[in-house]
């Protein structure tokens, strides 16, 4: 009897170990939402999406239409300079070029000046890689070990600051805008700072620590294509000099495509230009340094106003309209089948 008693609980103990648990998970009976494509849900989804696309498309197109933009191909217009730059032995000789434009309408609001490059492969893998972010952060690094080659050091071992193909090929034309107003020529005031991302200016790029900038860059040399050292990029403004120079930062943010535009200057809204650029005749004075004809590229200078959706690119608006059109067609197909 005793034996029997002791064996019974043992059996009870072993039994559950063989029998699977009756849990919803193990029996695949978890509560679940079982969505189903029903006519009502599908058609209403399509309808709502179509309406959304249509409204977005219309507002994008309206917005893009209100943007005023002027684009001048100055590599074409300044062909003498292009020719001159084609021969690299003339790198030191200055070439100036003036281009007249006429604004038929006022450009109201903030006006931005861009330089545009065509056929310049900033997105080439080796090009985009050729930089040392650590160096640009003001740290003391051995650029020899970075991807900067062949723009890392000179033959005598002096490191380039900044190193790499991106920095070396920095856009170095200067463009000034003059307003021809009643036969007098007024230089349009341009802002050269505040054009880059805050994070770039304050986090990603830092000058090396030292009591002054030239001392900070002591022992380094400018990249071969540069006319002046990095600590001379903006001698007027300490906060825009060295690595944290806005033009430099913007150049270093490489473009996704071979044709791109970078923000060069903003029109400072003061004096006559409080509301933007009034209609009239303007002249660009360009110091043409950056050779493009060698690689069959083109350079542009662009003036543009801005809206909530950015510049004048109408693609997104048209795409939205197209999508809404397409969805409406799908709805009709579905309706006819249903």
């Amino acid at each position: 009897m005793k034996n029997k008693k002791s064996s019974a609980p043992q059996e009870a103990e072993t039994r559950p170990s063989r029998c699977p648990d009756n849990s919803a998970f193990k029996q695949q009976k978890l509560p679940a939402w079982k969505p189903q494509l029903t006519a009502a849900s599908v058609l209403s989804t399509f309808f709502l999406t179509g309406a959304f696309c249509l409204s977005v498309g219309v507002s994008l197109i309206v917005a893009a239409k209100s943007v005023r933009e002027i684009q001048v191909d100055y590599s074409d217009k300044c062909s003498h300079c292009s020719k001159l730059r084609e021969n690299s032995s003339n790198w030191n000789s200055e070439c100036l070029c003036s281009i007249n434009i006429t604004l038929a309408e006022d450009m109201l609001g903030d006006v931005f000046m861009y330089y545009g490059l065509q056929n310049f492969y900033q997105n080439h893998r080796r090009y985009a890689l050729s930089r040392s972010d650590e160096q640009l952060l003001g740290r003391n690094v051995d650029v020899q070990n970075s991807y900067c080659a062949p723009f890392a050091t000179y033959q005598n071992g002096t490191p380039m600051a900044p190193c790499g193909a991106i920095a070396n090929s920095m856009f170095n034309d200067t463009i000034d805008l003059f307003y021809n107003f009643n036969s007098s020529v007024i230089q349009v005031p341009l802002l050269k700072t505040g054009n880059s991302w805050w994070t770039d200016k304050n986090v990603k790029f830092r000058n090396p620590e030292s009591h002054n900038l030239s001392a900070a860059f002591a022992g380094t040399a400018r990249p071969p294509y540069w006319h002046k050292a990095v600590y001379l990029l903006d001698e007027e403004d300490e906060k825009n000099n060295g690595y944290i120079n806005d033009d430099f930062i913007i150049w270093m943010r490489v473009s996704a495509f071979a044709t791109f535009r970078n923000l060069y200057r903003r029109i400072s809204r003061k004096g006559q230009f409080t509301d933007g650029l009034p209609a009239g005749n303007y002249t660009f004075h360009i110091s043409y340094n950056f050779p493009v004809s060698k690689f069959k590229g083109k350079k542009y200078v662009i003036l543009s106003t801005m809206v909530w959706s950015g510049g004048s690119n109408p693609f997104l608006g048209i795409a939205y309209l197209g999508a809404s059109q397409w969805i409406v067609q799908l709805v009709f197909i579905l309706r006819s089948q249903w």
């Binding site: 193990k26 492969y121 972010d133 996704a256 997104l316």
Partner: protein, 1020 residues
């Protein structure tokens, strides 16, 4: 169980000292795989003694009813019959696995193609553009020509685009299969409480193939049947007993039955015996003489041995379970067979002990299909009791029995229709003088040196005539639970079931009949079948002829029924197979082992297969284990279908190994089949759940998973390809390196894994109710090359939009604060974000069953993407590793732009909307059954399940089919009459009864003679 006996000369050597002096020599046949044949000669003391299969114990046997034995090892190791029968073990893969490998190779080829295209592009670009661009970007050291640059770029692109080859696919597939295996292990509905065994997925690699099975090869004994014979019905004097009152009959579940008959009046009753019709007991108790005589016959006419360990505790040792069932029935109804001596049988008839004098046993054999005893009752009357096949016995009745015969025949039809094994009982009074004369002749005949058998047969024949019909018994070869229902459902699911019964039936049994009986009782064969072909030819020509006739008949049938339609088809397609598949009417094929051996020969196998596949049901009986494997192999070879073999014994091992999927029944038969199997459970009926629920889901999930997986990798990778055309083919990636690393592992793996593990299209009950839901798997509709290309196309379509929409937006675009928008990093973040969102929405569309886990993974993946994005682009990480985390500040600057979000939204809409529209149209125009079921589920319209109810109401006219089956064996009567066994052991039979293949354990004892024996084989 089988009877095995030592040869008379060696059986005397019972002690070790005499055994040690044994110096015989055995010359025998070379090793072969025939389990039922052995030929050899023992040379000993200048005498020759024939050795047959009767004297052999095969490897894998277990001794029953015998404590010990000495033996001589004839063959060992790979020469044993069992090893000769074991097929090669092959590594099993699923068809999806094989397809996957092909597809991965294709993808690899595609990758190389893309690499070549981009490399050529690079060479051209470097030649045309890059050469001029050298002032800003000089070529790398060592690169001197555009062609070499192109060559380098080829390898760069191979590396970048390698994500198109889904390396993580294999791991994910294994994880999903593991999950499915666990679900099988955990399934409570496949847990057998009685044997306390849960189902077990012993391999984790075959799950989805369970959803594609087209052919099931099943063993019979132990798998379909329990190998338990139960006295189920009887017909006595024109009255049928045994029907249960409230129901149609056979497939009533145990629980629904009324209380079984109470046998408590009988102290000797076997408590395990159950009978449901009280009227039979009433008839016994009322003293109906017919019923008494009926049970008296059952208690006298048999070869059962009884063992009474203590008073009233009787154990019967029956050589066949049929006999055991009959004698037990008689015992419970008050006619207790108590004991026997060579010359007497003691029976307790309703409490009175009566000893009958046993005058003769007219033994059973295959030709006679009957056995008789001649007994002298205490009153001195001599009586012959006979039981046997209805076909034989009904002809030997006295003509005066005609009316009773007709009624009994009706009953027999009924029993046969239910798949019961029937025997007809008859008796005859013998005159004392006639008996004396006959006995004298018998004595002379049995002493005759030649033609003894013939003479005995003639004598037996003479006495077993003009008998009086007593009645008929119907024994139920107890099916495993739920077998007919399972077979019916599996048949509805378009799965063809072939029963391959092995050699486990006693060798003397008329196997075709047993198999046919089982076929009827488990609904494989039905009376509305047009014809059941039985192939029993012994020569090649006979078999060929029989097969040809069967085909012709099927063709004729279809021609007459199909009005020449199929005939035309024959003309057009000239392929015999297609004609046979278009056959109208239901046919079944029963083929015998020896015929099968011919049918499986190289020149006939196709013919056989075509015939067999045209039949609704195929039963092969008395096949050797290797033949089972050959049949499976044959179907595998020509039918390109997924096969499943299910069995429980060692003789099923090779079949289980050969089939795509092997299922072992874990139970009494030992673990050998289970060890060789891929899945095991303890009841045949679980097969329907394994296939229709687990297999179907597994297949569905795997297919959905694969489609999505290829899609997401293509959508992800092809963007690089398009970008190549815009970045000078320089192998620049579109995304951040960390995104590339994490995309497959973190951002997209878990939602699709959750879908692959948990998805359900219809609830499990529905897949049982609508077995047709199983068909897409068999036809391989959900994932094949076509589906693959659709997925790929969808992936490429997505990648095109994913690249060109942001491209269109970003080209010349500026941010709302005037700065440049189209910088590389912003572009990368935009494309990556829209990609993650699009593939997440896509997995949301694909997921049909959103459990909490799916929700968690899908939303979690999106959340993880943004969390990781912002973390990677944070100041802190950049400060630590400036060269690694160069995207600093990108997330917050880019994702703050409305244009970017509008781009992402547009990309998502145009990537997803066509998919939704396409799915909806498909659902609307060409709904799959699962969609319909799902929809009806939604509408809560309860449809009547499509269950086919038992079709047979009564007997469908036609010719009478004999339900006779009796797994009995010749030679027992002689044994009993000789009294030899009683001398050796009063309890057990002297011949050891053995069951082949019960365990792998070497049960053969190697005693003295054993060591020398392997050599003897060589002499043979």
């Amino acid at each position: 169980m089988k009877v095995r006996q030592a040869t008379p000369v060696t059986s005397e050597l019972a002690d070790i000292s005499t055994l040690a002096r044994f110096d015989g020599e055995v010359i025998c046949e070379p090793p072969n795989n025939k389990l039922d044949k052995f030929g050899g000669t023992l040379y000993w003391k200048e005498n020759k003694f024939p050795l047959s299969n009767q004297n052999m114990l095969l490897r894998g046997c277990v001794l029953r009813n015998t404590e010990w034995c000495f033996g001589l090892v004839v063959f060992a190791g790979p020469d044993t019959k069992l090893m000769q029968n074991s097929g090669r073990t092959k590594f099993k893969r699923t068809s999806i696995d094989r397809l996957m490998n092909t597809l991965v190779l294709w993808i690899f080829g595609f990758l190389v193609c893309m690499g070549v295209i981009l490399a050529i592009g690079n060479a051209i670009w470097e030649h045309e553009v890059g050469v001029c661009f050298q002032i800003y970007l000089p070529w790398d050291e060592g690169v001197h020509s555009a062609v070499f640059s192109g060559f380098l770029s080829f390898w760069s692109y191979i590396i970048i685009l390698n994500t198109v080859v889904p390396i993580s696919l294999y791991v994910s597939v294994e994880v999903i299969r593991l999950g499915h295996s666990y679900f099988i292990n955990w399934d409570k509905k496949m847990y057998c409480a009685k044997r306390r065994t849960p189902a077990e997925a012993r391999t984790t690699t075959l799950n989805e193939e369970l959803g594609q099975v087209e052919y099931i090869f099943s063993d019979k004994t132990g798998t379909l049947t329990q190998n338990i014979m139960v006295f189920s019905k009887c017909s006595v004097n024109g009255h049928s007993y045994g029907d249960v009152q409230d129901v149609l009959g056979h497939n009533v579940e145990l629980g629904e039955r009324p209380e079984p008959v109470d046998f408590s009046f009988n102290p000797l009753a076997d408590p395990g015996f159950q009978f449901w019709d009280p009227s039979l007991l009433e008839a016994v108790q009322l003293g109906d003489p017919h019923v008494h005589e009926f049970f008296r016959l059952l208690s006298l006419c048999h070869t059962v041995m009884s063992e009474e360990k203590s008073e009233g505790e009787l154990y019967y040792k029956a050589q066949s379970p049929d006999e055991g069932a009959l004698v037990t029935a008689a015992r419970n109804f008050g006619f207790v067979f108590r004991s026997r001596t060579p010359k007497t049988i003691t029976v307790h008839e309703l409490g009175r002990a009566i000893t009958y004098q046993l005058l003769a046993i007219l033994d059973f054999n295959n030709i006679r299909k009957r056995m008789s005893v001649i007994v002298r009752s205490p009153e001195g009357k001599i009586r012959l009791y006979c039981k046997g096949a209805d076909t034989i016995l009904l002809e030997r009745l006295h003509p005066s029995n005609q009316d009773l015969t007709n009624v009994t025949t009706d009953h027999l039809n009924e029993y046969a229709g239910e798949g019961l094994r029937t025997l007809v009982l008859a008796c005859k009074d013998l005159e004392e003088s006639y008996y004396e004369d006959w006995a004298e002749r018998l004595r002379r005949a049995s002493g005759a040196p030649e033609a003894r058998e013939d003479r005995l047969a003639r004598l037996y024949d003479e006495v077993e005539r003009d008998m009086t019909l007593l009645g008929a018994t119907a024994i139920e070869d107890k099916l495993q639970q739920g077998v007919p229902e399972t077979i019916a459902i599996l048949t509805l699911a378009n799965i063809k079931i072939w029963v391959l019964t092995g050699d486990k039936q006693a060798p003397g049994s008329p196997c075709a009949e047993t198999a046919v009986n089982i076929g009827y009782s488990c609904k494989m064969l039905t009376d509305d079948m047009t014809e059941v072909f039985v192939v029993t030819g012994h020569t090649v020509l006979e078999v060929r002829e029989e097969l040809r006739k069967a085909r012709e008949k099927m063709m004729d049938g279809s021609r007459s029924m199909g009005n020449g339609f199929s005939y035309q088809e024959k003309l057009s397609s000239s392929k015999l197979t297609s004609v046979l598949e278009a056959i109208a009417g239901e046919y079944a094929l029963v083929i015998n082992g020896h015929s099968l051996a011919h049918a499986l020969e190289a020149d006939m196998e196709v013919e056989f297969l075509e015939t067999a596949c045209a039949c609704k049901a195929v039963i092969c009986c008395r096949v050797t284990p290797l033949q089972k494997a050959q049949v499976v192999e044959l179907v595998k070879k020509y039918k390109k279908a997924v096969t499943l073999a299910i069995g429980d014994g060692a003789n099923d091992v090779s079949m289980i190994k050969t089939a795509h999927i092997g299922v072992g029944i874990s139970g009494q038969e030992g673990i050998q089949a289970v060890l060789a199997s891929d899945y095991s459970f303890s009841q045949f009926k679980f097969l329907q759940r394994l296939l229709l629920v687990h297999g179907r889901w597994s297949y569905l999930r795997m297919c959905k998973f694969l489609c999505y997986f290829f899609y997401k990798n293509f959508a992800f990778t092809m963007v690089h390809f398009w970008f190549g055309f815009f970045c000078g083919f320089s192998a620049q990636t579109v995304y951040d390196q960390y995104f590339i690393t994490l995309y497959n592992i973190v951002y997209t793996s878990l939602p699709v894994l959750a879908m692959g593990v948990f998805d359900q299209d219809v609830p499990e009950q529905r897949s049982m109710e609508y077995p047709k839901l199983y068909e897409p798997g068999q036809l391989n509709l959900l994932f094949n090359k076509r589906e693959f290309f659709i997925c790929i196309a969808q992936g490429i379509y997505t990648s095109v939009l994913m690249f060109f929409i942001p491209y269109g937006v970003f080209a010349d675009a500026t941010r709302d604060d005037g700065a440049q928008l189209a910088d590389y990093q912003s572009f990368a973040v935009t494309v990556a974000t829209s990609l993650v969102i699009v593939v997440s929405v896509q997995i949301g569309l694909d997921t049909g069953f959103w459990t909490a886990i799916n929700h968690f993974f899908i939303w979690g993946s999106l959340a993880a993407y943004f969390a990781i994005l912002f973390a990677m682009h944070s100041d802190g990480l950049f400060q630590m590793f400036p060269n690694q985390f160069r995207f600093v500040g990108n997330a917050q600057n880019t994702l703050a732009q409305p244009t970017v979000w509008l781009t992402i939204a547009l990309t998502t809409v145009v990537c997803i909307m066509p998919v939704v529209a396409f799915r909806f149209l498909k659902l609307d125009l060409k709904p799959e059954l699962s969609d319909t079921v799902r929809y009806t589920q939604l509408v809560r319209k309860k449809q009547k399940p499509q269950h086919r109810c038992a079709r047979r109401g009564g007997c469908g006219g036609g010719s009478r089919r004999s339900g006779y089956a009796f797994s009995h064996q010749e030679g027992f009567g002689e044994l009993i009459m000789s009294g030899k066994n009683m001398r050796l052991s009063s309890l057990a039979l002297s011949g050891f009864t053995a069951r082949p293949g019960a365990a792998w354990i070497e049960t053969l004892r190697r005693k003295k003679g054993g060591e020398s024996s392997p050599d003897t084989a060589a002499k043979g």
